[in-house]
């Protein structure tokens, strides 16, 4: 049984039809890279499956629980989010909280974990992303790469079954991208289930287990990453890969 199964998501913003029927299956331990040109709907897809946007149509099964992506109660959404993590393009760290507080807030406030236990978990997570020395720094005192690593620690702290990454390195200076990617690689190697919207071809090629290419709200091609890069079936995929290699 798949961890996450999505059927037929549609989403429009006004007249703009952004998602035109997307199906997606994620098994435990999968690392799925979603590629595609800007405006292809990758980010919207990710936001819809965590209810940051409400889809017009769409169904999801997550941990054997069914969800209607176009209409769900607040309680169901809250329950779902207790099992997922989300990493944003622009980090979205809580500006008025330290790195450690950013990581522990989901535990102490949302899950009633005691402060001592939460701090312990928080420090472990910061250590995992190499940020334990900056535990008491505020986001404004950290570089983009450091903020994104704290954001990953925050997503990890609540031990989610899956983490969604929305272009986690797109807002970073080139020299900071690597520190974030290497954290993500470690997670992938540890068996974390991840869905990653990205422009980093090397990550898709070397770290992800599966790759999906999206264009104009549809999936063009999907497959395991070896096949995708070495034997693309669709002309469009070949063209996309050629352009990316230049």
């Amino acid at each position: 049984m798949a961890l996450l199964e999505i059927k037929d998501i549609h989403k429009s913003f006004g007249n703009l039809h952004v998602l035109k029927g997307i199906d997606l299956t994620v098994n435990k331990g999968d690392v799925i890279a979603i590629l595609g040109p800007s405006g292809s709907g990758k980010t919207t897809l990710l936001r819809c499956i965590n209810y940051l946007e409400t889809a017009d149509v769409g169904f999801m099964t997550f941990k054997n629980q069914s969800y209607d992506l176009s209409n769900t109660s607040k309680k169901e959404i809250a329950d779902l989010r207790k099992h997922t993590g989300f990493v944003f393009q622009n980090y979205n760290l809580f500006a008025n909280k330290t790195a450690l507080q950013n990581v522990t807030l989901g535990l102490t406030v949302a899950r009633n974990v005691s402060k001592e236990d939460a701090d312990l978990i928080g420090m472990q997570m910061l250590e995992k992303v190499g940020m334990q020395d900056r535990a008491n720094h505020y986001p404004s005192q950290l570089s983009g790469g450091q903020q994104q690593r704290v954001a990953i620690a925050r997503a990890l702290a609540t031990s989610p079954d899956i983490i969604y990454f929305d272009e986690p390195t797109s807002a970073l200076d080139p020299e900071l991208i690597q520190e974030v990617l290497s954290v993500m690689k470690t997670l992938a190697n540890e068996g974390m289930t991840m869905v990653v919207v990205t422009h980093e071809m090397a990550f898709a090629k070397n770290v992800s287990s599966h790759v999906i290419l999206m264009e104009e709200g549809k999936i063009v091609e999907e497959g395991n990453s070896k096949d995708f890069f070495e034997n693309p079936k669709q002309e469009r995929t070949k063209e996309f890969l050629r352009k990316e290699e230049m």
Binding site: N50, Y51, L52, A78, R81, K82, T84, G85, F86, F88, N90, N92, L93, F94, A95, N96, K97, L105, G106, V109, A110, R111, Y138, P139, S140, Q141, R154, A155, A157, T158
Partner: protein, 218 residues
């Protein structure tokens, strides 16, 4: 000089025991009203939102002096007896609350939407995100304007003299009426208001520095 030594302590003390408490109590109530109204408007709660808008419209659109007269003399004339000081506190709270509500709403709206989304994604509820993330940040950006409102309020409490509250200005008037030294006494009372507002300005600067804890380079 003799008059000064006799009158200044009286004016100053009535400022400490009436004017400042009147302003502070009204301001605290105003803040509570303002936060609730701001959240109702921000969250676009149906009906309640319209009531809040109506309230702000009324209290920002009419003079405070008229509001005081309605609340005290007007109410009295239709048989509702409220003590002058209560009427003053009600009007000052509602009036300042209306202004602060708009300030706080604007500050809440200026907190980036991503903060709310990130809160949801770690499993927090709307109210939890409000209390821990949005309001503290909004409060920081609202702080200078809110303090502005407080300083205005301290001076506006002098209007309460018109509805028989013996606050600092009324006290001054009485001494002036007795001694006929109008110029000197009005300047004395102006000076006391200036002292109060100067201290508040210092407090504001200190508070802003304290609240900057999470902002680098400020």
């Amino acid at each position: 000089m003799e008059l000064f030594l006799e009158s200044f302590p009286k004016i100053f003390i009535s400022g400490i025991v009436i004017t400042l408490p009147l302003a502070l109590v009204s301001f605290i109530i105003a803040m509570l009203i303002a936060i609730v109204c701001a959240i109702i408007q921000y969250a676009k709660v149906p009906i309640a939102k319209n009531i809040v808008q109506f309230y702000i419209w009324i209290f920002r659109g009419t003079p405070m002096l008229v509001q005081l007269f309605i609340m005290y003399f007007g109410m009295q004339s239709i048989g509702v007896r409220i003590s002058a000081i209560t009427a003053a506190i009600i009007v000052f709270s509602l009036n300042t609350g209306a202004y602060c509500a708009e300030t706080i709403r604007g500050s809440i709206e200026s907190v980036p939407q991503g903060q709310m989304e990130a809160g949801y994604c770690v499993g927090m509820s709307y109210m939890q995100i409000m209390m821990h993330i949005i309001l503290p940040q909004a409060f920081r950006s609202a702080f200078p304007s809110l303090f502005n409102n407080l300083i205005s309020l301290v001076k506006d409490t002098s209007l309460a003299a018109n509805i028989t509250v013996t606050e600092m200005f009324m006290q001054t008037e009485r001494i002036a009426g007795r001694t006929y030294q109008f110029m000197q006494l009005y300047i004395e009372v102006a000076f006391v208001y200036l002292i109060f507002c100067t201290v508040l300005t210092w407090l504001q600067a200190w508070g802003e520095k304290k609240l900057n804890y999470y902002q680098a380079g400020r």
